[in-house]
Amino acid sequence: MTLGENFPAKTPEGPIEDKWTSYKNKIDLVNPANKRLIDIIVVGTGLAGASAAASLAELGYNVKAFCFQDSPRRAHSIAAQGGINASKNYMGDGDSDYRLFYDTVKGGDYRAREENVYRLAEVSGNIIDQCVAQGVPFARDYGGLLDNRSFGGVLVSRTFYAKGQTGQQLLLGAYSAMNRQIARGKIKMYNRHEMMDLVLVEGKARGIIAKNLITGDLERHSAHAVVIASGGYGNVFYLSTNAMGSNVSAAWKIHKKGAWFANPCFTQIHPTCIPVSGDHQSKLTLMSESLRNDGRIWVPAKEEDAKAIRSGKLKPTEIAESDRDYFLERRYPAFGNLVPRDVASRAAKERCDAGFGVNATGEAVYLDFASAMTRYGKEKALVTHQDASNEALVLELGKEIIATKYGNLFQMYEKIVDQNPYETPMMIYPAVHYTMGGVWVDYDLMTTIPGCYAIGEANFSEHGANRLGASALMQGLADGYFVLPYTIGNYLAKDIRTGTIPVDTPEFAAAEKSVQKQLELFINNKGSKPVDYFHKKLGKVMWDKVGMSRNGRDLKNAVKDIQAIRDEFYKEVKVPGDLNGFNEELAKAGRVADFLELGELFAKDALNREESCGGHFREEYQTPEGEAKRDKAFQYVAAWEHSGAPKDAKLHKEMLDYKYIEVKERSYK
């Protein structure tokens, strides 16, 4: 197999419901004794990486896992709040694999590969079974059965959750599965190690150069296959809900070695985040989408009220019901507050741009729980035979119920904003949250580099141009537990006689040398500005010109701006400390250098896509009502091949053909 030969993806024959089963029946297997002769590197221990590492080790492969935090348990997945989808139909509300598949493809605005999405829906139920078997404490009802909640963009309740800490519980489950394999010696864990480059031998991925972040030493690690599970690149915007260390570097390094990068411009801007409070801000905090189950989003209907609120003369609770504009309920009566994220975010921006925003900055809308508290309080009063006409009592009871559902989120909000959300509505504004784009992969989750795989948020698959809530956790665990462990065997079956890959070869030496050179360049640079200065500058260009709505003129300017920031970065960046020992600024410099290249490709991709779809909104392409206008001509995955610099990247199109779903206008009215 040669580089790029697997493009466009070939998927198994047969009806969509049977493809995955028939694939599994036909692929090559590696026998258990031979698995012991095969090494696999997994970069990243979030949900995708941890589940993959554990499952591959259970199968008998020798796994080496890497993460930059001090423990696999701290990967960014830990922060996921709201839940994980599965088509269990426990609620009996008509859910099925097909419906989950359909919702996901439609939610992604028809820009995802049908076969992959169907497989995802098909294994979703297994994920819940597996996690429960591991001891993941999901929320339960009084009958002892698993509880579900609803998320945006769907009409069923299929989201499993563990309070507002679902990601934490799922990751700790996967971490426990890893721990079992670490104890058996089947996983060797490299904490505080950063992958610096991929090593190719005869065109195949055969290892990585990693940096020990404590000593600063560069290390060579070899394997028969390399799995990238390094998460998303939302931090290209500087401010996002991602963890501070989340980065694109592992994905970008393999891109530069031949892995094509797909749909970089598909980014999710999440509607319910705590608004920016000032220039010092280092990151943004999400308020889980689950809050939209009970919170109603509004702004004042009168501009003068909005002004009075901004200047502190009026309180939101003083505005009469009839003077409030519940704009999502108004524009999208069928889905109301539970429209998909891209739709909700744009609607909030539209109101704020029109002058109805609240908060001192004018960039916020309200998320209000008052009516939910009354509704729940009344119900509780009735059930417990108390006076349901006593307003104070009803409110008290309602508050208790809201607290059991969202207590930790309310507490988090209060700590950050210093306002009590039980008394006054929350203020929220959209923020960068997730990247649907990523490394292109085929049906096996292999990149265009033979033997190099990408899973979880790091790859581009399943979510098209917009991801539905609670589907990232599902995809990460599907990839790691149930897909990759099968598909990788299909490739490794040919490697059983290869033997250990030596690291004292020219390929490893060359890769190590180029990494060393870049690190020295940073340390020896005579600049005067810290890394963050450039990261912030890049983030501002991305948000202003490549953010929630985009247009050709701004995008062209963004490309130029980013190139200029990149040039300035290499001249002016100052990295203190030295090459040896722990040096966070040095690690950050490497990551920002990669963001500065990715950012340009991102803008270039957005410029190329002359349509609006999902999270990608081009002002030139909208319906008279201001909704996204898709274009059949762009019904493809844009996969970019690196060729020297981002400006020279070559576009490959994977045309998307919908056989099982009728491509319709995506309406949530």
């Binding site: 348990r73 701290r74 922060a79 079974d129 339960r140 309070k163 721990n179 000032g278 280092s282 722990f582």
Partner: protein, 247 residues
């Protein structure tokens, strides 16, 4: 506001450390504590000095990375939060703040305010799992109903973020709260039953081997735990431990 900072600086695990004085000015009360340190670090970098190293990642109280001893208290003066959730509105102009790493024999210092908590990981390797393979044909998730009360308690115990504040708060540097939280989670769930006795024995023995101290029931851990992990978990673990060793 303007503040005086007294920060522990230590080049690496073998070097000798000391408290160094710094000043930061024009700090907004809306900033988080770590953002205040970002301001200090940007200033140090521009002056050609080495910034202060500290662990952090999520900055929203869930990853368990951040670990500062602020004015003698793990995660600082506010209750039920991590360092990254601490806001500067808890301080006032002119305050002097002492910032040190979490201190415990089992948590050696890596650099400045960064500690090595791999002992926690090793305790988990010893038994914090259910031995179930990924197969796709485990029984249906709803096949075994679990009493909501037990499930909720299991969740509460499982919400530990592995930060180590309990160890830093304890005069004996005991890890009992951390270990008991994990033991409790599994002890409360049907899935944890098969390996129940072996788990507690193995985890406790690894805990001792790592050099954590004994528990003398002072309760300091519970007070400083950002996730409100209850000390009743320690009582449960003690029962589990005695139970498994009587057999």
């Amino acid at each position: 506001m303007n503040l005086k900072l007294k920060i522990w600086r230590q080049k690496n695990s073998t070097a000798k450390g000391k408290i160094v004085d710094y000043e930061v000015n024009e700090i907004s009360s809306d900033m988080s504590f770590l953002e205040m340190l970002d301001v200090l670090n940007a200033d140090l970098t521009e002056k050609g000095k080495e910034p202060v190293s500290f662990d952090h990642d999520c900055r929203e109280g869930i990853c368990g990375s951040c670990s500062l001893q602020i004015n003698g208290r793990p995660h600082g003066p506010d209750g039920a939060i991590t360092t990254c959730q601490l806001h500067m509105r808890k301080f006032k102009d002119g305050d002097s703040i002492v910032i040190e790493p979490f201190r415990a024999k089992a948590f050696p210092i890596v650099k400045d305010l960064i500690i090595d908590r791999s002992a926690f990981d090793r305790v988990q390797h010893a038994g914090a799992f259910v031995s179930v393979n990924t197969s796709g044909n485990t029984q249906d998730a709803n096949a075994t109903p679990i009493n909501k009360v037990d499930a909720d308690y299991a969740f509460d115990a499982a919400s530990c973020i592995g930060c180590g504040a309990c160890v830093a708060a304890c005069k004996n540097a005991s890890a009992m709260l951390f270990v008991s939280a994990k033991v409790s989670q599994y002890a409360l769930l049907p899935q944890g039953q098969v390996e129940r006795e072996k788990r507690v024995t193995d985890m406790v023995s690894q805990m001792d081997e790592e050099g954590f101290g004994a528990c003398t029931n002072t309760g300091a851990c519970e007070i400083e735990c950002p996730k409100g992990i209850s000390i009743t978990n320690i009582a449960r673990m003690n029962r589990e431990f005695i139970g498994s060793n009587l057999k």
